[in-house]
Symmetry: none
């Protein structure tokens, strides 16, 4: 396997940029996380930033995805309803976290009007998470827990959209108790 020639990319620089972007986005909103400001805070040349990312939002998104890489695991040996509660609860906790929530809001704002961010957000954030819920529900249909003519997409929507909705509009996040109530109601309604 051939090693590249030339000076290798500095991991320290990459990390400093991701950190700086995350801090700025969390503190001052999308207006603060400009490429200029990121470069200044990371003590890095603007040129270097432009070399690796196309926009400030792309940096924030990359940091966001890196910080929440795990967490789509279904607890082994759990019932369907428990798996759903687990998933929605975890999602809700992530979005309610002030740091992560602020980052995601910034990325969502940037996705409007930047198709690249939009696509990355969809394929790298939304779809994996939906997929996990879809899997749980598909299993439930297979075992007969759920009727075969259940519209799974609708159920997923009802389960996962409330946390996003509250985040996006700046409403207080759902409590653990309400998450439980939400999943119970939806589950009861379709089983």
């Amino acid at each position: 396997m051939a090693n590249r020639r030339g000076r290798p990319r500095s991991e320290a620089v990459r990390g400093a940029i991701l950190t700086a972007a995350a801090e700025l986005a969390a503190e001052g909103g999308p207006g603060a996380a400009t490429i200029d400001a990121i470069a200044r805070r990371a003590e890095v040349s603007r040129t270097t930033v432009y070399k690796w990312w196309p926009s400030a939002a792309a940096i924030v998104l990359e940091g966001l995805l890196e910080s929440v890489r795990e967490s789509i695991v279904r607890p082994p040996g759990s019932s369907t309803i428990e798996a759903l509660v687990h998933h929605v609860s975890a999602l809700n906790a992530i979005l309610a976290d002030p740091a992560v929530g602020a980052l995601l809001r910034n990325v969502i704002a940037a996705a409007v009007g930047d198709p690249a961010i939009q696509a990355a957000l969809l394929t790298q954030w939304i779809e994996p998470r939906r997929g996990a819920v879809v899997d749980s529900l598909t299993d439930a249909v297979a075992t007969g827990e759920l009727s075969g003519d259940t519209d799974i997409e609708v159920v997923v929507d009802a389960l996962v959209s409330p946390p996003y909705y509250r985040l996006v509009f700046g409403m207080p996040p759902l409590s653990e108790h309400r998450v439980r109530a939400l999943v119970d109601a939806v589950w009861a309604g379709c089983s």
Copy 2:
């Protein structure tokens, strides 16, 4: 009756600005609806725009609110479930409308990082609509259709957030049939 002094505000100018902002936001996203561009398209002086609105997003929001002023009416003589279907269906239709949906996405993006827009969006758009649903559900509790310990906020969230979720992330809107399935499931789950 006291007549105002000075030259009266031109309604033509206001209309041209709202229209221009709506067109730009629908066409090119939040990046396109700058105050400069709005003033140019409306053939109006930039200073005039600044005199009446604090930001481009405020213009878009005002136009949006003006264009969907009605539409929170509960059809008379309807059952609770019918009223809910009516409401969610209407909401979904509004958000699925390419023009209105694009405008709202822009406003949502602007609300991140602009507390004034955020507050206006919440009090003038979100809350009235939630209120209508809350009313229907409160009536249902009063008539015994719904159990007294139902958490109404949770039910509202489950009903109204999916259309926003799909709009925000650029997913295809819910079909009429799926709206019906959503309301049925949630209703069944909590009654």
Copy 3:
């Protein structure tokens, strides 16, 4: 003689405007004496100002001319040299006065690039004063005090330009003693 119709022009308004303009010009230089600022300080409508003067500099000039209307009188029974000293000394005193000097500097700055101000400044300020000196020198030629081939314009220039020069470039004004030395030298040189 028929009286004019309509409301007569308010003398109070005119005075307030002239005063405000003079104060602003003296305090903050030409940048401060804008029509907006003058109208604000005089507590007068901008429209009214525009109705009577074409520019801020015109107001300052009018106030300036009004404040130094007299002062071109030759002391009776004086010799030519005494008359010259009197004139240059008076001119120097006027220009050295902080208030008047500041106003004149403003008007001079405005005259560059405003032909109307330029013409008014020349005919209403410069020429009357030069005329007085020219008269004294012409008399001196007539009485034989001065040679007939003296170039009077040159002598006038040498006498009156230093105070303006020092005002325009912000140099300290001539002392009374130096004014005397100046007139003596020029007089000695041409007689």
Copy 4:
């Protein structure tokens, strides 16, 4: 020898800006030489102009100083009076030149109300020129040509201020013959 890092400053850009400013100031007066107009005519970005100069007048002044860098040389082997005639004549010629005269008028106008321009004008234009005349006169005192109690400042004022005076008030410039007469008269008056 240390080489500079970064992209070197474009001399072409600097020259284009100075030229454009000079042309605009000469043509249209101080109102025409705005930074916007200069940038447009020089086909240069406005931000670049702001990077190097604080105001339009500073550009005009820099161009002016550059265009008349030489010209304070005393002709070798000349008598004092010849040196004075040479200097005043050269000064008068410069100020009478339509291009240079217009530029200087603009700068003078800008110096009122801009202390930085005022100071630069004084130290970089006025004082070097006065200094040359002062030197000639000091020499003359040393050689006994001039009395020791001559007030040199006064003599300098009498010699150099007339050309400025005529320029500033838009009067026709002195002819060569009148310059000679001026220097002769002042010299005769103090020797």
